[in-house]
Structures are given as structure tokens and as C-alpha cells.
């Protein structure tokens, strides 16, 4: 079976989608949650729910969004966030490929930002600073205009600056995205 055949089969069969995309989704969840157990639980739970709901037509970009939103739900919840902070493993911190001024968003900072930003902004934040997408990719991924993405990133930068300024005026902030 060719890769494209596998992708088609996975897109209409949750078991194949789980086998094919599960590891990628766990890696993504790990980059946010910073521990493998919660990441695996989250992805497993996502597929169980997809089956129960009859949502069987899925592809990787769609599942990426679902994982983002489930992770954010966990992070937004104060008790869930406290538990995640206790369990996070520094070794799972992803490399900061965006460079010095646009670094990886940590779990603690993401939690604080979740108190200042709505779901739409948080999703853009994850796309840019966790998934490291370009603005064009984010626009395509979320079905929004590039202009909207730019505006949301500007607000995100303001929020990051406010949080970083409150906690540590010298902390690096996310300043701009291409």
C-alpha cells in the first residue's frame, strides 16, 4: 500500500489513523504538556471520543487542532495546570528553532497566558510558538486570514510582554513572527 493509500485509509478508519498519527500527536501533546503519560492519555482519549461520536473522517491537520484544544483545556484548568507543572519533565522541552527572541512557550507561561487570552488567540499562540508554523501556515491551518493571524500575534506579544514584565522584566518575550 502506498503512503497516499495509507493516508486515505487512515482518514476513514480511526484505528489506522491512531496507528498512523498517534505518535505524531503524542509528540505534539508532549511539547505542550511536557510529560509523556498525560500526552498519551490525551491522545488515547481523543480517539476514544472520536469513535464514540462517529467522527471517523480525520486527517493529521484536523487531529493536530483537536490535540491543541484538548491540551489548552487542561492548561486552562487551574488544578489541571498545577498537576501538569508538578509532572513536567525538563528533558521534554523542545528545541527552540525560532531563535533567541521567539522562544519555546513553557507550561507555566502558557498557563498564565491562558488567563489573559481567549481560545482563538491561544490556538494561534500554539501554532506559532509550539508548532512553529509560519503565519501563512497558521492562516491555512485555522481557516483564517493572514491579517487576522497577524493581529492575534500582536495581541499575543502584548500579553507575553505583560506576563513576562510582571514576573521578570528581563525575561525574553516573543517579539514578532514572520
Amino acid at each position: 500500500m502506498s503512503p497516499s493509500d495509507l493516508a486515505v485509509a487512515a482518514a476513514s478508519d480511526p484505528r489506522q489513523a491512531y496507528q498512523r498519527y498517534g505518535p505524531a500527536l503524542v509528540r505534539k501533546a508532549e511539547r505542550i504538556l511536557r510529560n509523556p503519560d498525560d500526552a498519551i492519555d490525551l491522545v488515547h482519549g481523543l480517539f476514544v471520543d472520536l469513535i464514540a461520536r462517529g467522527e471517523l473522517t480525520v486527517d493529521l491537520p484536523y487531529l493536530y487542532r483537536a490535540v491543541t484544544n484538548r491540551c489548552l483545556n487542561l492548561v486552562r484548568d487551574a488544578r489541571g495546570r498545577a498537576r501538569l507543572l508538578e509532572r513536567q519533565q525538563p528533558a521534554l522541552e523542545p528545541p527552540a528553532r525560532l531563535g533567541d527572541v521567539q522562544r519555546v512557550i513553557g507550561l507555566d507561561l502558557l498557563g498564565k497566558l491562558s488567563e489573559r487570552l481567549d481560545a482563538g488567540h491561544l490556538e494561534v499562540l500554539v501554532c506559532r510558538f509550539v508548532d512553529e508554523m509560519t503565519q501563512d501556515e497558521i492562516a491555512g491551518h485555522l481557516g483564517l486570514s493572514r491579517k487576522t493571524i497577524g493581529k492575534r500575534l500582536a495581541r499575543i506579544q502584548d500579553a507575553v510582554a505583560a506576563v513576562a514584565g510582571g514576573a521578570d522584566a528581563g525575561a525574553a518575550g516573543a517579539r514578532g513572527a514572520s
Binding site: S12, I40, L56, P95, L109
Partner: protein, 241 residues
């Protein structure tokens, strides 16, 4: 913010999603070549790709599928195999759509419709006794429930470069004829464009869909080919109903 001690990308990083799709061989030739070319010259992105290809984790098994949800090929593929090519082309021409899925089967339609203007994303806004909710909410895989006294409005997002689009709303319910709760509207594309008017849904579970086209969409086609090429949201009855 924190940063792991690793080299930064030499330019704009290849996103993790693109790297994952590259590793799965799901990118088209041009996109794959772009990734390959970048990774060859960028140690940071090469290391990121290595984290993907070196990952050998095993995930826990999924539970057994409940009865009735065994997957099968999308209906359009079965149709093509049985010789319905001409009819499929005709239906696509009427609705100006690419994506088609069955209405009630396991492969339920999604909330994105594609037409030649681009992609249209459907969102429903529910007013339940003054409490406003957006459907789907945080979870794009989610479904919402419906009560007879809920008031619903339709929001769509489509690329401004598409200019204007004709939108028609259809409601499908088991055992009921297809209903059109709003007049068809020509809207200027943009983010979260709200259609004029609101409606209620009685009779329990429903699939609310929008059809999109450059001209008013033929309602006969919407009735004959439920949900085909449309952006849809499935609503289940609220608990206790």
C-alpha cells in the same frame, strides 16, 4: 519563555506539522522537496526531524469499536467504483464543491466546505435563555446538544479574496423533510460573518449545514444530496429530552 540549548533554525523553521507529514510521506512533491532542501542545510530542523524518525514509542490499544461504527470507504468512492462517475460530476457542477460525504453514516461531514472561492468554515451560535455558546466550541471534534427553545444563528468564515459567496442553510433531521430556516444570502467573505436571521430546531438531533457557491445553490440538489459538499455541524438532543 525558556529555550533548550540547541541551535536555532537557519531561517524560518519547517513546522512540526510539516515535518510530521514529511516523515509520513504525505506532502506533495513540491512541498516535500522544500522540506528536504531546508533540512539538508539546517542542523536544527534536521535534528527535529530526527526526533520524529527516531521515536519508536508504542501506544496503548484502543478499545473495541462499538457496533455500527465499523468504518467503510466514503460513499463517493463506493459510488465511483459502481459507475456513478457522470452523476457525481453533475452534482459537483451544481454545488461547486469538492468534498462530499454521507449524511448519516460513520463518516459524518465536517464543518469546512470547499468551493472555488476557497474554504468556508461553519460556526453555530446558540442562545439558550440568554447564555451564548459557540458550536463547535474548544474541541473541533466536538458536537453540541440542542433544545427546542434554543435560538440558533449561523456564522461563516471564508477568505476575503473570494469576494462574495451565496450561502444557504439546510437542516437535516431523521424522518423529516430537509428544511431551510433562513433565506439564501449573498455575503461578503471575511471572518465570522453572521448571517441575518435566527431559527429554532425542534424534533431532536439535527445536522445543520451550509451550502456555498458563487450563485444561489440549487435547493433541489441540497435535498437530493444531503450534506454533500456542505459544511455541517451535528447537534444531538440535550440530555433528558
Amino acid at each position: 519563555m525558556t529555550a533548550a540549548a540547541a541551535p536555532a533554525c537557519t531561517g524560518e523553521p519547517i513546522s512540526w506539522l510539516a515535518l510530521e507529514r514529511y516523515a509520513l510521506d504525505e506532502l506533495d512533491g513540491r512541498a516535500a522537496a522544500r522540506v528536504r532542501g531546508h533540512v539538508d542545510g539546517c542542523p536544527a530542523c534536521r535534528a527535529a526531524l530526527g526526533r520524529i524518525t527516531d521515536d519508536r514509542r508504542v501506544l496503548p490499544a484502543l478499545p473495541a469499536l462499538p457496533a455500527g461504527t465499523v468504518s467503510r470507504p466514503p460513499w463517493w468512492r463506493r459510488w465511483l467504483w459502481t459507475g456513478g462517475v457522470g452523476l457525481a460530476v453533475a452534482a459537483a457542477a451544481v454545488l461547486l464543491v469538492v468534498v462530499v460525504r454521507s449524511p448519516d453514516g460513520p463518516d459524518r461531514p465536517g464543518r469546512i466546505a470547499r468551493w472555488k472561492g476557497g474554504e468556508l468554515v461553519l460556526t453555530l451560535v446558540r442562545d439558550r435563555g440568554g447564555a451564548i455558546g459557540v458550536v463547535p466550541g474548544d474541541d473541533p471534534a466536538g458536537v453540541a446538544d440542542v433544545r427546542p427553545d434554543d435560538r440558533w444563528k449561523v456564522q461563516v468564515t471564508c477568505p476575503p479574496r473570494a469576494g462574495a459567496a451565496w450561502i444557504d442553510v439546510a437542516v437535516y433531521q431523521a424522518g423529516e423533510p430537509t428544511s431551510f430556516p433562513l433565506d439564501a444570502h449573498r455575503v461578503a467573505c471575511g471572518n465570522d460573518v453572521v448571517l441575518p436571521g435566527a431559527f429554532r430546531i425542534t424534533g431532536g438531533a439535527a445536522t445543520v449545514c451550509v451550502a456555498v457557491g458563487d450563485a444561489p445553490v440549487d435547493r433541489g440538489g441540497i435535498v437530493r444530496h444531503p450534506t454533500a459538499g456542505m459544511a455541517c455541524v451535528f447537534l444531538r438532543p440535550a440530555p433528558g429530552l
